[in-house]
C-alpha cells in the first residue's frame, strides 16, 4: 500500500496479510479525517478485515479523528472484522477512554499484542 503524507498527518501500511497493520502519525483531526477515511476504505477494499492501528506516532486525535476510526469499525464489523489500537499516547488513550470505545477498539501496548488480540 502507498503512504499518504501531508504537513501534519501521515498514514501507511505494509504487506497484505490479515490482520493488517496501519500506522498513523501526526494529527488526526477535521483536516485529515477525509484522507484517513479514504485510506482506510482502500485498506478494507484490499481485503483487510482485521486492522491493527499503530498509533505510536499519533500525537493528537479529535472527534473528527475518532469518527475516522469509527468509519473503519463500521466497515469491518458487518464482515466479521475487528480493529485494534496499539501504543496510543496518553492524549489519544484518554480520548478513546472518554469516548467509551475501549472495548470496541481494543487497546494494546504494542503492535504484536494488537495482532495477537485480533488473531484470537
Amino acid at each position: 500500500m502507498t503512504c499518504i503524507r501531508s504537513d501534519a498527518f501521515s498514514i501507511f501500511s505494509e504487506g497484505s496479510e490479515n490482520p493488517r497493520v496501519v500506522a498513523l502519525a501526526g494529527k488526526l483531526d477535521a483536516i485529515s479525517q477525509a484522507v484517513a477515511e479514504r485510506y482506510l476504505e482502500s485498506v478494507v477494499a484490499d481485503g483487510a478485515t482485521h486492522v491493527v492501528l499503530d498509533c505510536t506516532e499519533l500525537e493528537f486525535i479529535s472527534s473528527a479523528g475518532i469518527r475516522a476510526l469509527l468509519f473503519l469499525v463500521k466497515r469491518v464489523k458487518p464482515i466479521g472484522g475487528a480493529v485494534s489500537v496499539c501504543a496510543p499516547r496518553p492524549h489519544v488513550r484518554q480520548m478513546l477512554e472518554f469516548t467509551g470505545l475501549k472495548s470496541i477498539l481494543s487497546i494494546s501496548g504494542t503492535v504484536e499484542e494488537g495482532r495477537a488480540a485480533l488473531s484470537r
Binding site: D29, S63, R67, L70, V73, F98, T99, I104
Partner: protein, 534 residues
Amino acid sequence: MAVYESIPLLLAGLVFFFLGLDGIKASLKGLASRSMRRRAHAAVSSPLRAAILGVTFGALSQSATAVSFLLAGLVSARLLPLQRALSVVAWANPGTAFFAFLAAINLNVATMWLIGLAGLGLRNRKLKSLSSALGAILGIGFLLFGLMQLKRAAEPMQEADWFATVSIALNGSLVLGFIAGALLRVIIQSSSAIVVILIALCGKGVLGVEQAMMVIHGTGIGIGLSVILLGQGLRGEALRISYWQAILNACAATAMGVWMLFAATDLVPSLPKLLLLTRVSIETDLAIGFLLQMLCCPLVGWLLRNQSEQILVRLAPEAAEDELARPRYLDEGALEESEIAIDLVAREQARVMTALPALLDRARLDAASASGLNHVDVRKALDTLDTEIAGFLAELAARETDHDHGVAIASAIARQQALIELVEAVDSMAAAVTRLAPDSAARMLGGGLVEASDVVLGTLREWLEQRDPVDRALLDEMTADRGDQMEGVRRNAAGAEFGSPADQATVLYATSMFERTMYLARRVAGSAPSPQVD
C-alpha cells in the same frame, strides 16, 4: 434648552428606544404560544384585516419607525407570518398621517399611561400570568418614550436662528427641501412633528407651500434611513421588515418628489395647485400631502408584492440560526394524523440533534471542526425549536384518543424532554470548559470531554437518521455508565499539580455534565421509534 442638555437627552432617548425594542421582543417571545399565534394569524388572515391592523398600529403609535420594530418583534416571536407583517407595515404608514389631522392627540400622556400601568402591573404578583403581555406594553411605552426624548432633544433646533436661515434657503430649491426633509426626519424622528413645524413656518410666511410639501416628501427617505440605522442589530426576518419599511417609504418619497419636480416645469400641476381647488387651510394641504405620500406606501407594497420576498431575501439573507429556529416539518394540518405528526416530530428532533454539536464549538480542541455558528444564537434557536416541538406534542397528546398512538406520543414527549435536558447539559459543559485556563492540563482534559461528547452526539444523530444497528451497538458502548471513569478523573483533578482550585472545581462540574450528557444521549437513543421492518 442648551446643546449640553440636548445631547444627554438624545442619548437617553436612544437608550429608552433600544430598551423598549428589546423588551418588546423578549416579552412577545413569552406570549408566543400556539393559541396566541392562531389568534394573531386570524387578526391578519385577509389583506383587509392586515390593512386595518396596520392603520390602527400606525394611528396609535404615530411612528412608522415604532411600528416597524413592533412588527419585527412579532415576526421574530413567530406570532405573525412575514408576508402578512409586510402588509401591516405598509398600511401602518397612512395610519401615522392621522396625527397631522388630529394634532390634539397627546401621545406623551398616553405613553406615560402605558409605562405607568404596565410597570405597576408587572410589580403586582397577582398579575404574574399577564407578565409577558405587560412586558410587551411596557416595551412599547419605553420605545415611544425614547422617540419622545429624541424629538425633545431636537426641539432647540427649531428655535435657533440658523434654522430660520435654512428655512429661507429652502425656498430657493425644491431638491434642497427634499434633502432637508430626509435629514430632519432622521434627527427629529417624527414625520408628524415635522408637518406641525412646517405648518408653523408656512403660517409665518417663512416657507412656501411647495417647499414645505417637498420637505414632507423628503421625510420618506428619512424614515427609511432611520429604520435602517436603528435596525442594525436585527437580522433575518426582523431585518427584512426594516428594509421593507425603508423601501416603501423611499419609493413613495421619490414618486412624490419627482411629481413635484415635474410640476415645477409646469408639465403637470403640482399637488398644492390641485389642492387649491378645495383649499381649506395650509394645515390641511400639508396634512393631505403627507397622507397621500403615506398612502403611496401600501400602493408600492402592492406593486412589489410578487418581488418582495426575492428582494428582501437578497437584502437580508436568513442566518443559519434563524433557519434552525423555524420548524421545518411541524404543520398544523399534521395534527389531524397522529402517525404522520409523530414522524414529523422525529424529523424535527433530528434537526435539533444535527445542530447540537455547534454548542461545543467554543470548547473544542480541534478548531477546524467548528461549525462557524455563534453558540449563543444556536442555543436560542434550539430553545425556540424545542418549545415549538414540545407545544406541538402537547397539542397532539390532547387530541389523541387511540391507545397505540397515545403510547407513541408519550414516547416522543419523553424523547423531547430528554433532548431539552441534553441541550442544557451540552451547553453547560462547553461553557464550563471555556472557563478553564488556556493550554492548561485542565483545559486539555475538558477539551477531551468535549471532543468525546461530539463523537457520541454524532453517532446518536446517525442512529436517529439511519437506524443502522452498528450505530446502536456503538452508542450502547459509548453511553454506558461513566460513574467510575469520571470518579477517577475527579480524583486526579483534585491533585495539587492539576491547576488552580477554580480550575479543579470547573473540571468537577464539567465531568458531571459529561456524565449527564452520556446518560441523556442514551435516553434519547432508547426512546427513538423502532426501525421499520420490511
